[in-house]
């Protein structure tokens, strides 16, 4: 479909590492484990795609990483520094390393500010540069995201959705962060514009060496931009692999169902789609959370929660059927 950049070599030192992270929300209906024991790491200049259905906790995870949501437990390390429980005033310095691009480019930009003011705001907040230097930086950033320099004088409502998302990206890159969390950055855009924004992101990553945590429900988008992909279901990562491995040999039944659900032009035989909805997060199923919809579920799945474990180089999954000690694992790995 798209020509993808070659996979980067895995650098051991990660810019972002998340360790057994849990996020809980207490509501009138009970407690929701929106993120339940997620671990992942991000190498410099790498893109990790995070996919799953709506409500699976992927956005919550992204927001917890930039500390917009307080994690209940676990650890977040940014460029080697533990930022999990830092109070907000101490967090400011760490924020230079991690920035966020939001889904809705209409809602995240103040309609009363000019684009130049908006892009300069992070520099202003962190006291970077003189007025003239900031202005030069804004022009430079506008150029980087493919907007004309005179865009700085206009207000966001004078731009289209795709252009506004470019403004959001410029804003996120202003502080030269090591990690950018992209929360559904192209979901609100037309398909033709999506491709332009994705190309822009890939190009920016190559020239700036920034790492992306790319959150999306759209598999084709994730396939295009990601080096590695994590699949989330009900607050947990059920499979984590590099892109080629995941698309060639998905190990988790949920991943397979997601991949099968991607529309294909060729048509032909397609397995039955997944039945039912995401179970209520207030009352997640016992055992494997996916067993209520899994076509292959058996006794063990209803009682025992599968753990994420390695099944190959850089490939891990949380499924009893992929357990190498189990004789019945063979059909899935094939």
């Amino acid at each position: 479909m798209f020509q993808s950049p070659p996979a980067k070599p895995c650098v051991p030192e990660s810019v972002l590492s998340v360790d057994d992270l849990c996020v809980r929300f207490s509501t009138a209906r009970g407690t929701v484990h929106a993120v339940d024991g997620v671990s992942l790491s991000l190498a410099p200049g790498e893109t990790l795609g995070l996919v799953g259905e709506s409500g699976c906790g992927k956005s919550t995870l992204g927001r917890a990483v930039v500390r917009l949501i307080e994690p209940a437990s676990g650890r977040i390390r940014l460029a080697g520094e533990d930022v999990t429980h830092q109070p907000r005033h101490r967090l400011r310095a760490a924020r230079r390393n991690v920035q966020m691009v939001f889904q809705d480019p209409f809602a995240s930009l103040d309609p009363r500010w000019t684009v130049g003011e908006l892009i300069a705001e992070p520099l202003h907040i962190h006291g970077i540069g003189s007025r003239a230097e900031r202005r030069a930086r804004v022009t430079d950033l506008l150029h980087k995201v493919g907007l004309p320099p005179d865009a700085a004088e206009r207000t966001p409502h004078q731009f289209s959705g795709g252009q506004r998302q470019r403004i959001g990206i410029a804003r996120a890159l202003a502080l030269e962060p090591k990690v950018v969390v992209l929360d559904e950055p192209v979901s609100a855009l037309d398909v033709s514009v999506q491709a332009q924004i994705l190309n822009l992101l890939v190009g920016l990553q190559r020239s700036l060496g920034v790492a992306f945590l790319f959150i999306s429900h759209d598999l084709s988008v994730v396939e295009y931009v990601s080096d590695r992909v994590a699949v989330m279901y009900l607050g947990r990562i059920v499979e984590l692999a590099d892109r080629e491995t995941l698309w060639r040999s998905p190990a988790h039944p949920y991943t397979r169902a997601l991949l099968d659900a991607v529309p294909r032009i060729s048509g032909g035989h397609r397995p039955a789609p997944l039945k039912g909805d995401l179970p209520s997060p207030y009352d997640p199923p016992q055992g494997c959370a996916f067993h209520t919809r899994c076509p292959l579920a058996y006794g063990r799945c209803r009682t025992e929660t599968p753990l994420l474990r390695g099944i190959g180089p850089g490939h891990s999954t949380a499924c009893h059927l992929a357990d190498p000690t189990l004789p019945g694992a063979a059909p899935l790995a094939a």
Binding site: R63, R95, M100, D104, I125, P148, Q158, S160, Q163
Partner: protein, 293 residues
């Protein structure tokens, strides 16, 4: 890669603020309101020039009907005081008290509403209970009690009106702030590392300005009414002339010389009407959907 998707050749779309006065004047009722208000402000500003003498001085014979003597076009009251002079000087008092009392309300109301809406939780609960406490007491009786306790003077009347009128404003601002608080605009600012103060002052309050301006104009009108009512009941500053006080004084001769109470009454009606028309006009002019046209 760097394809620009310029959809429309950047039309020089006006910034929202530029066209405000124009949009306001395009509505007949708002234009009338604004004209009347400018007139009253001009009266207040020129009072010392047109009527340099104290309006409380007796200048000629009492009960001079309007038009009877060209030197006193609006006549004189039962003590021989010039009513026209009273109207001009009274405009100063009414506008001053109306504006300053509204400013007091704005400070308390916007402050309370912004803190309450932004921080939520326990602070919100406490501030909202305080607001409700103020709301349960009828504002006019409250102001009356305050003025009666602290001798009536312009500062005490202003403060009394100011601290009784803010609760509705606080609720309005809180609701507006709540709408923005968990939106992506604020989330984006937090992610950038902005401080709470910066977010509230630079991003939240400017975006709640439109409804606040509208209710402020209505608050000025109601402050003028409250001040007039207090003065009518004899709780005005005895050292200055005020429209309400003039109505109160004229009440006793209403059967024989009705103009003494009616002329300052009409002044109050005009001022309140002007501010209400302006408020309505601002509401339409500041409405973003209207502005987008």
């Amino acid at each position: 890669m760097t394809v620009f998707e310029i959809s429309a050749p950047a039309a020089p779309a006006p910034r929202a603020r530029d066209g405000l006065l124009l949009r306001l004047l395009r509505q007949p009722s708002a234009a009338v309101g604004l004209t009347l208000l400018v007139l009253i402000i001009a009266m207040a500003a020129s009072a010392n020039l047109v009527f340099p003498d104290d309006p409380l001085d007796m200048v000629t014979q009492p009960f001079l009907w309007p038009g009877e003597d060209a030197a006193y076009p609006l006549g004189t009251d039962m003590l021989g005081r010039d009513i026209a002079s009273g109207i001009f000087h009274g405009a100063r008092v009414s506008l001053l008290i109306g504006a300053v009392a509204t400013l007091v309300s704005l400070v308390i109301g916007v402050g309370t509403g912004a803190l309450s809406g932004y921080y939520g939780g326990r602070l919100d609960a406490v501030l909202m209970r305080v607001t409700e406490l103020f709301q349960t007491i009828p504002p006019f009786l409250f102001a009356l009690a305050i003025v009666a306790i602290l001798q009536p003077s312009i500062p005490t009347i202003t403060v009394a009106i100011g601290i009784t009128a803010w609760p509705s404003l606080a609720r309005l601002v809180r609701a507006e702030v709540l709408k923005l608080r968990h939106g992506e605009l604020v989330q984006a600012s937090i992610a950038l590392g902005a401080s709470d103060l910066r977010i509230i002052v630079l991003h939240i309050l400017p975006n709640t300005l439109a409804p606040v301006i509208v209710s402020a104009s209505i608050l000025v009108a109601s402050a003028i009414l409250t001040e007039s009512s207090l003065a009518f009941l004899g709780l005005g500053d005895p050292n200055v002339v005020s429209w309400g006080g003039m109505v109160g004084a004229g009440r006793e001769v209403l059967r024989t010389d009705w103009y003494v109470a009616t002329i300052p009454g009409l002044a109050i009606v005009t001022a309140v009407l002007a501010l209400n028309l302006l408020g309505d006009g601002l509401n339409d002019a500041l409405n973003p959907k209207e502005a987008a046209r």
